[in-house]
Structures are given as C-alpha cells and as structure tokens.
C-alpha cells in the first residue's frame, strides 16, 4: 500500500500546483485584461475612493478642480467640482465615473490619483495609508484666460497664448464653453449640442489660416536664402498662379514691392510667387519643423488633438502635388489646402519669438504631493530648431511693421512693441463668411508671450476682429499699455 500512498501524495502535489498556476494566471498573467474587462466595476469603485489632487492655475491659488468627499469610513467617496465653471473647461477637462475623463484630468490622471508602482503601494499598505492624489499646478494664467473669454465675448472661436522661451501654455480658451459641473446631469444635452461645446477649438478643430500662413512661407523663403526682406517682387493684381488668376484683397495692385512691405500689406500675389520659389518640398519641410503633420507635443489627451497640415478634400493629409502658390498664402484647392489648429499657429508665433527655437508646449508646470513636496517639475524642452536666429530676427522686424503701420494696428500697445500678422480666410459655400486670424508676440525685444486668436465663421477682417482680442490678452498678461 505504501507505494500507492506515495503516488497519491504526488498526485495531490500536482493538483495543488495546478491551483497555484491558475491563481497566478488570474493575479499576474491575465490581471490586466481582467482589470480592463467592462464588467469589472472594481477600478471605477476604487477610483471613486481616491481623493484626486487639486488642479491649480499658475498663481498656485486659483483652484480649477477639487475633490469633494461624501460619506465616511470605507464608504467615503469623492466627486469632482470645478469652481471656475466653464472658463478653464477645455484645458482642465473633467473626471466622472459615469462619463469618463477629458483634458488634464485624463492626461495627468496617474499623478492626480497618486498611482504609484507596485512596490510603493505595498509600503502604503503596510502603513495602511490611504491613497492620495497629487496636485497639478498648471501654467494657465487667470488674467489672460479671462481676457480671452471676454475678448471673444461669446463668439465661437479660440485663443491660445504660449510663453516662447519655455513652451508654457498660458491661455487655452475655446468658445462656446461648457460647465464641467453639469456633465453628470446633462451629458447627453452637452454632447449633442450643435454648437459643439465639448470640442476644443484650440487643438481639435482645423481652420483655414488665411494670411497668417504667409509667416510660415516667409520663414521657409528667408531661412533657405531664396529671398531677403528687401527682395522686390511684382505685386500687381491679378496674377496667374498655377494657371488660374489670383487677386489681392480688394483687387489692389501694388506693383513691384519689397517683401517687408508685402507682409505689412498682406499682398497675396507676392507671397504666392514666393511660395512657388520655395517649392512644395521645402515648404512642407518647414511646416514639419513648426510641428505641422503631427499632434502637438502637449500633455493633453490624444483624442482631443488633431494634426495641422495640407489636406486633400479636407480629409487626407498630403505633402506634394498641391498648388504651392495658393497654399503659401494660406489657401489652396481641392488637391490640397492648408488647415491648422489655433494651437499650431500659436506655436508658429512662439518659434519666431524664441529666435527660431520651438519649445514643446505644456500645460503642466509641476506635480506637488499632498505634503507640499514638488514631485516633478516639467522643464522646458526643445521641440525643434525651426530656423536660424537671423531669420527669426528678420521675421520679427517684418511682423513689427504689420502692427505699426500695416493690417494689424489694432493690436498695438503703447510703450510695448508688438509683432504680428493678420489673416482673413473666406469660408462658407459662397465665401460669405470669414475666418479672421491674428497671431502675434510681445514685447519685440524680449518676447514674453505669443498669442494666436481666431473667430469662427463670422464677418470682418483679422485686423479688426481678431487683433483687438489678442491685444486685450497681451495687456492682461504683460500688465502694461493702455492704448
């Protein structure tokens, strides 16, 4: 009998080994897929029990998002409230169990929930300390944001402001806004609203940039040495570009004109010729340096960003075989027209302001633990050397003239020099609407802030509609000037 008993022990050992193997299957090998199983409510319930950290404006005082606790003991759960309502809704986003997450609430979720690694959570378990989220201090400027909201005054549109040397995103405003506090109760209504309040117009919507795109064309032309600011080109109107006549705004005929003057007066026929000299390949190369053709490298959810670029029929991104002359002035045709987000145009202004060095944009400044320790500081990071410093210097001078005596005088500040460029795209089936733009940076000698403003499907020019909004944002943030 003893031999059989020993064999029986072998069998039991084997059976127990199977139990250990299956336990490891669920705890280790398939743990992630089980956690992701839609029938598994545990992760959601666990999250509700974590007090998420605060989201703060750059002043470290204004609370943009906080968690409010209800119940006590094991049943204590937390829900999010947004004290500033819709003003910061796009960059901050929201986080609710039933509705998911957007904005920084999503892209900084790990930091906000204090999601540590396995080892750290064991230590926390030994100390029986409850998991606590970290605070996220953003770069968002309260005064600048309020000025942008007030400037748009309820008109659909977007305003982005970036600190050129660091890439800090100081303003991200998209109108119409939505109140994140109403998401749980009114999600269906907000989500189906025909005005699309959930759409982040700064990063998620593409618009024709109009003449602001001439800055990109100028960058490529000057930096490759094909032209100088003093190069004279025939600015008569109309001129044949790619086999079809192109007119200047109002059909104005400028005759031979320097590039500086052609930018100041936004002469289409001149810049279309410059575009043809640059060529499609070089233009696309410079666009890529500015960050076109990819999502902004922003600490923001991928699904809330879209690449800018030249698109065929408004769908497919293309890099050649487009009408380079018309693209060069921010237009195009069915075979390829340039479309851009306001964020992308702010990055263009920012790169020029920072002597050609484009910094990665970022909404977050630092992560601070509950005990006040700075856990992580997001340092400035170079995204691309877009152009030579001399090119940036020349473009700055040309853009200063736009504000001083050209189409952008409405953005002029007293005592502070501003460099900028207007744009007015014609949109609508019969070109009955305009898409006014203004991009700028100031002060010219030592740029502190770069701004892009656009208003959606309205009437009026970039210089009269968009430039004043940019001016009020500059005023709010630079604190100077009254004119």
């Amino acid at each position: 009998m003893n031999r059989q008993i020993v064999q029986l022990f072998g069998l039991f050992t084997l059976l127990f080994a199977v139990l250990v193997i299956f336990t490891s299957r669920w705890t280790v090998f398939e743990a992630q897929s089980l956690a992701d199983n839609p029938a598994n409510r545990r992760p959601l319930i666990e999250e509700e029990k974590i007090p998420r950290g605060l989201i703060l404006a750059s002043d470290n005082r204004t609370v943009l998002a906080r968690s409010r606790g209800q119940g006590s003991g094991e049943n204590r759960i937390y829900t999010r409230t947004y004290p500033t309502g819709g003003t910061f809704a796009q960059p901050v986003g929201y986080s609710f169990i039933q509705n998911g997450r957007r904005g920084l609430e999503l892209s900084r979720n790990e930091e906000l929930t204090g999601d540590e690694n396995e080892f750290a959570s064991i230590l926390a378990g030994l100390e029986s300390r409850n998991r606590e989220g970290n605070d996220v201090v953003t770069n968002l400027d309260v005064a600048g944001t309020q000025a942008a909201v007030a400037g748009l005054g309820g008109r659909k549109g977007a305003v982005v402001a970036i600190e050129p040397q660091t890439g800090k995103v100081r303003v991200m405003v998209s109108i119409p806004e939505y109140d994140p506090n109403l998401i749980t109760s009114n999600f269906a209504r907000i989500n189906t609203d025909s005005n699309k309040p959930l759409l982040n117009r700064t990063t998620q919507e593409l618009y024709q940039p109009g003449s602001t795109f001439k800055v990109v064309t100028a960058t490529a032309a000057l930096d490759t040495g094909k032209v100088t600011p003093d190069t004279v080109i025939d600015g008569s109107s109309p001129r044949t570009i790619s086999g079809a006549p192109l007119e200047n705004a109002g059909g104005q005929d400028f005759g031979p004109i320097s590039l500086t003057d052609a930018l100041t007066n936004s002469v289409n026929t001149v810049w279309a010729q410059v575009g043809e000299r640059v060529g499609a390949k070089t233009l696309v190369e410079y666009m890529k340096r500015f960050g076109f053709y990819e999502d902004p490298q922003l600490d923001y959810p991928d699904f809330q960003m879209i690449p800018s670029g030249i698109r065929r029929n408004g769908v497919d991104y293309v890099e050649d075989r487009f009408d380079v002359g018309r693209v060069a002035i921010g237009q195009g045709g069915a075979e390829g027209a340039v479309d851009t987000t306001p964020m992308q145009m702010a990055l263009v202004a920012s790169a020029i302001a920072n002597k050609g060095r484009l910094m990665k944009p970022r909404l977050t400044d630092r992560i601070v633990s509950k005990d006040g320790r700075v856990k992580q500081r997001i340092e400035p990071d170079l995204q691309a050397d877009v152009m030579k410093p001399e090119t940036a210097q020349r473009l700055t001078e040309m853009m200063s003239r736009v504000v001083e005596e050209g189409t952008g005088t409405a953005a002029a500040l007293s005592g502070i020099r501003v460099a900028g460029k207007t744009g007015t795209a014609e949109v609508g089936a019969n070109r009955e609407f305009t898409q006014p733009w203004f991009i700028c940076f100031a002060p010219v000698d030592n740029p502190q802030i770069a701004v892009a403003v656009t208003v959606e499907r309205t009437t009026g020019q970039g210089g009269t509609v968009a430039a004043p909004i940019a001016k009020s944002v500059l005023e709010a943030m630079l604190g100077g000037g009254d004119g």
Binding site: F16, V20, T27, L34, A35
Partner: protein, 480 residues
C-alpha cells in the same frame, strides 16, 4: 525535543500570525491598533494551548505538526472572516470553540480507532441518511440550486460535512477487508491469441462508439479509457460479488448528483473513494473504470439537471454577455478580485468587498469565495502560502498513513487526508476556474459551524491514528 514540545513551539508563530492579521485589519478599520488585537491573539493562543495540553495528555505520540497547521488555517480564516464581518467572526470563533470541544470528545470517546470497524455498516447507513436529509421536506433547504443544508429552527447545518467522515470510515474498513480479493495476484501473461482478443475488442468497441455516436475528443478519450480499463479489470478475473458495493458507491455518487445537485460534493466523495480504492488495490484499471463512469454519468446528468448544466456553462465562459452580470457574476467577480490582488495583494483589510451605496461585490465572500478574498488581500504569495500549509497538512496525514501498521489505519488516514485534499482542490479549483464552481467549504478557513466542527473531528481521527502508529513504532524501537 519531544513531539509535544515541537507542537507547542509550532503554535507560537500561529498566534503571532493571527495577532498580526487582526492588527492589520483593525489598523485599516480604526486607524490605530487597539488592545483588542492582543486580546484576540491571546485568546486564540490560550485555546490552542488548552488543546495542546489535551493532546499531550491523551495522545502523547501523535504527529506534532498537524494541529499547529490546522490552527494556523483556522486563524487565517478568522482574520479573513473578521475582515468581512466582525459579527460573523465572533460566531466563527464560537464555532471554533465548539469544534475544539468535539475534537476533545472524539479523542476521549475513541480510544482506539479500530472500534469504528465494528460499526461500519451503521456508520455507512447513518452517513447516507445524513446526505439525504436536505431533501426532506420541512427541514431541507436549497442554496443556489443545490441541496446541501438543513435548517432546524435557527440552526443551519450541512450534513455532507459529517457524512464525508462516516463514508471514509466505512470505505476504509470495507476495502481493508475486500481489497485483497477484489483483485487477485497478477497472473502470468496470456497466450498471444487471447491478448489480441482482450485488447482488440475494447479498441474495436471504442472505434465503433466514436463512429456510431459521433463522439468528440473528450467523449472518445473517456470511452477509450473506459473500455481499456474495463478489459484490464476483466483480465484479473475478479470475483463479481465484491464489486457490488463498489457499484453501489458509484450509484451513490450519481444519486448525490441527482438528489443534492452538487457536482462539488459528488466529486469530493467519489474522488476520496477512488483514492482509497487505488491505495487498497494498486490497480489503475479500477480507477480508470471508476473515473470514466463518474465523468460519463456526471456528463449525462448535467445534460438533464439544469442547475449542473448551468454551472458547467458558467465555467466554460463566465464573461459571456448576459451571463457575466447574472449567473456568472460570482465567478467573474472572484476572478476580478484575484486580479485586483496581484502578486502581493492589497494588504489585509484593504480588499474591496462592498459596493458604494450598499450591497456586496463578492457574493458568499465568507464561504465559497473566501479564497478569492485571500488572494485579493494577500496576493499570489499569500495564496501559495495557504496552499502550502494545506499541502504540508496532507503530507503529514499521508506520513501517518505510511507509518501505520495495519491496513485499516493506513486506509483511514489516507481517506481522511485525501478527502481533505480533494475538498481544497474542489473549492479552490472552482474559485480559480480550474473546474466548475460549486459550494463546498474551504476546510478550517471558510465560515461555517458544520465545516469547522467536522474538520476538527477529522483532525482528531488523524491524530488518533498517528498516536497509535507512532506509539507502536516507539515500542519497536524505531524512530519517526
């Protein structure tokens, strides 16, 4: 160091473990460790020392490791149940005291386990009676479709827990007597032509079965194993009259499926039976016939008993749409809880058990799913530790069987140990989706008076057998 002193020292880490466990749970509950934890640890240690002194007096030579192992399992169980519901833990602690009382009574009443042999048919009849009690109108109660419990007034009672002991005693005694004549000594090889006939017929029958009934892979394997094993049994030319009781046990297992409708307990009983049969006869062919008859019967019955069929369907795919939130909820939540535990677990007292706003997320957390709670709180390592403790207990039990002098003692120790091991496999296997989930308890750990009392009696019987075996070895001058 004497065996009893080793046992006493073995209890020290057990009490530390229990105190530490309670401390962890209390710390998460109240944020500070109160005196209560020390009281719990001291109370548990006191009980164990009393039981130890009793063993020292009555069974001085019994195995020194089994009691501390069982005590540690009970301690882990108490901590887990306390974590789920302090009120249940208080009840379980009372049941633990009752269990210890039965433990002592068993040891006092049964001075020599061989007396059990005298009453084996009485014991067998009583056990079958116990098994059928839950079907009696008035006192029987159906839980999750299975008839496992009876209810008299406020007391709920699971007779199967006790019936398993009786049936093991009966089988050990019966097989001790008939094991030798069930199979005769192996004969010399058959002539060539007879060999072909002997193995050819089952192969042909199997192929015929596959062709006629269009069997799948599992069915074909089952049929092949059955016919070949059956041929091997026939080759031994056993005496037919002794097979009657064996067929009876098979019939009983099938009857249990029909009447009790619980695959788990049937598997436990029949598995224990097959283990004993193999140890008694050393014939794999008998196991082949027995197990294929069981699986065949179970498969056939599962087609007709909706409750059993449902359990199998859930096992095959607990995440199926429409199943996962209803019938499959318990198993799915068990797996989710284990995934949540990971390698190291969430820590004692940290597992999520309640839904916000009331309601439980893990149904039957304190009984069927207590292993899932352990994995959630102590992780894969904690679970492996628990299974290790069981395996050590099984090891000591089978050591006892090896060292016992007579056949009945060997078979009794093997059967008691085997049924314990199989019960662990059935419930943990169910919770981890190795086999369909059924409602048997995790011995010593799960909440339940019947379970803890029956398993304490099981432990007492093992210790009695062990004491006899080791006393005898000592008399003969051998060293264990």
């Amino acid at each position: 160091m004497s065996a009893r002193t080793r046992e006493l020292f073995g209890l020290v880490p057990v009490s530390l473990l229990v105190a530490a466990g309670f401390a962890a749970v209390l710390a998460t509950r109240t944020q500070d460790v109160s005196d209560a934890t020390l009281t719990y640890g001291a109370f548990f240690l006191g009980l164990c020392v009393v039981a130890h002194l009793f063993i020292r007096a009555r069974l001085p030579n019994a195995d020194p490791y089994m009691f501390p192992l069982a005590a540690s399992l009970a301690g882990i169980g108490l901590v887990l149940i306390y974590r789920i519901d302090p009120e249940l833990a208080r009840e379980q602690a009372q049941w633990f005291v009752v269990g210890l009382a039965f433990f002592c009574i068993t040891i006092i009443a049964i001075d020599d386990h061989h007396v059990l042999e005298r009453y084996r048919y009485t014991i067998a009849a009583a056990s079958i009676g116990l098994l059928l009690l839950p079907r009696l109108p008035g006192i029987g109660s159906q839980v999750n479709g299975a008839f496992l419990a009876i209810k008299v007034g406020p007391i709920q009672f699971q007779p199967a827990e006790f019936a398993k002991l009786g049936i093991i005693v009966f089988l050990a005694s019966y097989l001790r007597e008939t094991g030798d004549i069930l199979v005769r000594p192996r004969r010399k090889p058959l002539p060539y032509q007879r060999q072909i006939l002997l193995w050819g017929i089952p192969v042909l029958l199997t192929l015929l079965g596959i062709a006629v009934f269009g069997l799948g892979v599992a069915g074909s394997v089952l049929l092949a194993v059955f016919t070949l094993s059956f041929a091997a049994v026939l080759r031994d030319q056993p005496s037919p009259k002794h097979f009657g009781p064996l067929l009876l046990v098979w019939g009983l297992a099938m009857l249990m499926l029909i009447l009790i409708r619980d695959l788990g307990s049937s598997l436990m009983f029949f598995g224990g039976f097959l283990a004993l049969l193999y140890v008694a006869t050393g014939r794999l062919s008998l196991i082949g016939v027995g197990s294929t008859m069981f699986f065949g019967g179970a498969f056939f019955l599962s087609q007709s008993i909706a409750h059993v069929q449902e359990r199998v369907d859930i096992w095959l795919d607990p995440f199926k749409r429409g199943v996962v939130d209803h019938e499959g909820y318990q198993l799915a939540q068990s797996l989710f809880a284990q995934a949540d535990g990971g390698l190291f677990g969430q820590g004692f007292g940290q597992a999520l058990l309640e839904l916000p706003g009331g309601g439980v997320i893990l149904p039957a957390a304190h009984t069927d799913l207590i292993y899932a709670v352990l994995v959630n709180e102590a992780g894969l390592f904690g679970a492996a530790g628990l299974l290790g403790a069981y395996l050590l207990l099984v090891y000591r039990g089978l050591r006892t069987a090896l060292s016992a002098a007579d056949g009945f003692s060997k078979l009794l120790a093997t059967g008691l140990t085997g049924v314990l091991a199989i019960q662990v496999f059935v419930i943990v296997g169910g919770v981890t989706r190795v086999i369909p989930l059924t409602g048997v308890t995790l011995p010593f750990v799960s909440y339940g008076g019947s379970s803890i009392v029956a398993n304490m009696v099981l432990l007492a019987l093992l210790l009695i057998v062990s004491d006899h075996a080791r006393s005898e070895a000592r008399r003969r001058g051998g060293v264990m």
